[in-house]
């Protein structure tokens, strides 16, 4: 579920961070906003699903994570609230300064979640400092070098993902700007990814899982290959395949992380006997069975109508269709 959320909201966050920079004028901005307007809310529900799903399936992990990382989730909450509001309210008024303000707010509130998710997973990979007594960490300790780098990685990855998505939904010169941006950000992305992969294998215990079965290394390897493929498809002028590749990077990178963590959900950095694992933090077998059955029935349904919604808005947004009038859909 984390993966689906990042795949979908990754490009909304990326496009959100980028759009005032890609756009030359307010008309361009409107076009770019229209690429995410119909879908951002549905995408964000995947995050709610991650939260509620963790609550139902691993209640102990949910309780521990959200309360130990109280400041992180508070910031995340602020960003998500403000982002949703700015997408919708920006369009309502023509007052001077109104849109400029919301633009700034929107960029910041798109950047913050991307960065915080990176920091969050950085700290999960490192483990949190807790034992039988409780939590010994602080907010500043969460902002260690490795996690900050992970934050940067998420931001860059979503930027590339977002600009590729935008390039697929628009027409005209703006498309080239978006693709050009993707190409430029790709370079630091590769650099940061390389450092993160090296650091991960040396400073975290994630490598342990891979040493038990070397075949698993194909997963992070696929992430690297997909990363290279983005650039190749961009050079070959195949933006759709480049977008597929950036999705694959997210998919394989996150999967690599989860393989590395398994069976841990939240490892303790000071006392491994207190690691929260998929076994000791899970709900009762009966509750899990209920969740499993309902998931089997309803996830396909959700995915079905989500695909339908994307299909409805499959056409690229033509510049002349977007008027400068107020309001989003009216």
């Amino acid at each position: 579920m984390w993966v689906v959320y990042f795949l979908l909201d990754g490009f909304v966050l990326g496009a959100g961070m980028l759009y005032p920079f890609l756009a030359k004028d307010s008309h361009d901005k409107k076009i770019l906003l229209k690429t995410i307007g119909p879908v951002w809310d549905g995408n964000e529900v995947w995050l709610i699903m991650v939260g509620a799903g963790t609550f139902a399936v691993f209640p102990a992990a949910y309780a521990l994570l959200f309360s130990y990382l109280y400041p992180v989730f508070l910031l995340l909450l602020f960003a998500l609230i403000v982002r949703g509001v700015s997408i919708e309210f920006r369009e309502e008024l023509f007052v001077r300064g109104w849109r400029k303000t919301w633009d700034g707010v929107f960029v910041l509130s798109s950047f913050l979640p991307a960065f915080l998710f990176g920091v969050l997973f950085g700290n999960l990979f490192l483990g949190l400092p807790f034992d039988a007594i409780g939590y010994h960490g602080s907010f500043l300790r969460l902002l260690n070098g490795y996690s900050l780098l992970m934050g940067a990685l998420f931001v860059l990855l979503f930027l590339v993902h977002g600009s590729l998505y935008a390039s697929l939904k628009i027409t005209g010169p703006l498309t080239h700007t978006a693709l050009h941006t993707a190409r430029r950000i790709w370079i630091p992305l590769v650099a940061v990814m390389a450092i993160v992969l090296v650091l991960t294998s040396f400073t975290t215990r994630l490598g342990d899982s891979y040493r038990t079965s070397y075949a698993l290394i194909t997963v992070p390897l696929l992430a690297v290959l997909a990363l290279i493929a983005i650039r190749m498809f961009l050079a070959a002028k195949k933006p759709f395949m480049a977008f597929v590749s950036s999705s694959a990077v997210i998919l394989f990178f996150m999967t690599s992380g989860f393989i590395g963590l398994f069976p841990n959900l939240i490892p303790s950095s000071i006392d491994a006997s207190h690691n929260l694992t998929a076994y000791n933090a899970s709900a009762s077998p009966y509750a899990l069975k209920i969740m499993l059955i309902t998931s089997f029935i309803f996830f396909p349904l959700v995915i079905g109508y989500t695909i339908w919604a994307y299909y409805v808005f499959r056409e690229r947004i033509k510049a002349e269709e977007v008027s400068d009038e107020t309001s989003s859909g009216y």
Partner: protein, 481 residues
């Protein structure tokens, strides 16, 4: 290997554990601060949430009815109505969504011990709410707002109906979760936590269904009063009379039906509270002594310190017993028979309940008059009544808040009635400073959002519908042809 932190926690040891950890009065004091602030924060964030959500609930249903009528009759007045009220709906919708995220996060952030202890049973309905209803609501709202030119008339009407369905069903799942805290069913206490043993019992909990009926009809009534109030404003201004008479009529009929249902279901709900949460019921009616033939005082002032009522007005004999159990000689357990530390705050519960009931009946009366005047076609001859209806937009908002105060404050000191106290559910590692920060931060953010929301709603409500919808009509008709 069990997670040892959990292993040591049972409701009885939890408080002492926190006390031991702190090992000083200051520590205990700080614990109470965190509990108090977290409660205050939860109250504030859920009250804001319930400010935005009922309008979403009710207006989505009204919009669906308007657009379906348009799709089947082709009457463009209904399209114009859908557009105008839809605009206000969209402004308000997003705030219901984003304030909902806070509530989900807070269970883990501030109430970690509760989430850990009860998560096996409480997490399920939240996950199902997201999976079964949030996706439905959120995916289709995007299609609805941006899909006017992409879908046929009928398909577009179905989309808003699905949004309305999602909104209403989401209320069901969250109320299943809340009802379980009020009246726990289908559980067993084992492995040092509360585990789900009967999913059927959880979703057939009568309290859940009564709450669902009561809360959704109150949301429907709120939206209907909103539509009536805004229409009344324009009728007084003699602005687009045809449009607003039609809107008013829809609102009035809907308000009468939902107010009547809301009161009817509310009555059953109160009777269910008498059975399942006697301490809450005793506080709602401020009954101190256990007895049969308990009288209803038309007016009274509770005096919790001296365990009596300071003043009691004219009474109706046996009415409380009768309302609760349908028979005059039913026994009502008085507050004196509950230990002092297991009684809810009486003033807050009692006054909120009285006021809520009063508001409910006022809404019934107002909507009855509204329907009467509409069908007699004398509405415009009653400007004072129209003025009153503009002010009455606030009534259901107030009633809804009071209702939740009765439900949540009346449940205290329990977080899960009879099983776990609220103070035991708090996160043990969160500091007073952290909760201060989040409380003040969220308070400021929410207040500014509410101000912007009210500003935008008022602005667009006053502006009225666009006089010329022909531009839009052309595109739709071309598309559907």
């Amino acid at each position: 290997m069990r997670y040892t932190n959990t292993a040591s926690i049972t409701p009885k040891t939890l408080l002492s554990r926190n006390g031991l950890k702190a090992n000083s009065l200051k520590g205990v004091h700080q614990h109470m601060d965190v509990v108090f602030l977290s409660r205050l924060q939860f109250a504030m964030t859920s009250m804001f949430h319930w400010t935005f959500v009922p309008l979403t609930l009710g207006l989505s249903v009204l919009l669906a009815s308007m657009e379906i009528r348009y799709a089947f009759t082709g009457n463009e007045l209904y399209l114009k109505m859908t557009k105008f009220w839809g605009k206000l709906f969209v402004i308000n919708f997003v705030l219901g969504v984003v304030t909902g995220i806070t509530l989900e996060f807070q269970f883990g952030m501030n109430w970690a011990e509760y989430s850990k202890y009860a998560g096996d049973i409480f997490g399920g309905p939240l996950a199902l709410e997201t999976l079964l209803t949030f996706f439905l609501e959120s995916v289709f709202i995007g299609v609805w707002i941006f899909g006017w030119e992409k879908l046929s008339k009928k398909a577009h009407a179905v989309v808003i109906a699905l949004v309305a369905l999602g909104a209403t069903l989401s209320a069901f799942w969250i109320l299943v979760a809340n009802a379980w805290m009020q009246h726990p069913v289908g559980y067993a206490i084992r492995n040092n936590r509360i585990e789900l043993v009967d999913f059927g019992a959880l979703i057939t909990n009568p309290v859940a269904w009564l709450k669902f009926g009561h809360a959704t009809t109150s949301g429907y009534a709120l939206a209907a009063f909103f539509v009536m109030g805004v229409s009344a404003y324009h009728l007084l201004k003699k602005n687009q009379a045809e449009f607003f008479l039609k809107s008013f009529k829809t609102g009035a009929v809907f308000a009468l039906l939902s107010s009547a249902l809301m009161i009817g279901i509310g009555d059953f709900h109160a009777a269910e509270v008498a059975r399942t949460q006697p301490s809450k019921f005793a506080a709602m009616e401020s009954v101190w002594d256990t007895g049969t033939h308990v009288a209803y005082y038309t007016f009274l002032v509770p005096d919790p310190e001296n365990e009596r009522n300071r003043f009691e007005g004219p009474k109706i004999p046996s009415l409380v017993s009768f309302l609760a159990f349908n028979t005059a000689d039913a026994e009502i357990k008085g507050l004196k028979d509950f230990p002092r530390n297991e009684r809810p705050p009486v003033h807050m519960t009692f006054w909120s309940f009285r006021l809520m009931v009063g508001i409910g009946f006022a809404m019934l009366l107002l909507s009855f008059l509204a329907v009467l005047y509409t069908y007699r076609k004398t509405l415009e001859r009653h400007p004072r009544f129209l003025m009153l209806l503009i002010l009455s937009i606030l009534l259901p908002y107030l009633g809804g808040q009071l209702g939740w105060i009765v439900a949540e404050v009346g449940r205290q000191p329990w977080i899960v009635y009879g099983i776990m106290k609220t103070s035991q559910g708090i996160s043990t590692n969160v500091s007073t400073a952290q909760v201060y920060t989040s409380f003040i931060g969220l308070g400021l953010l929410y207040t500014s959002l509410a101000v912007i929301d009210i500003y935008l709603l008022t602005k667009f409500a006053k502006k009225g519908p666009d006089k010329d919808v022909s531009v839009f009509l052309k595109t739709t008709s071309e598309h559907t042809r």
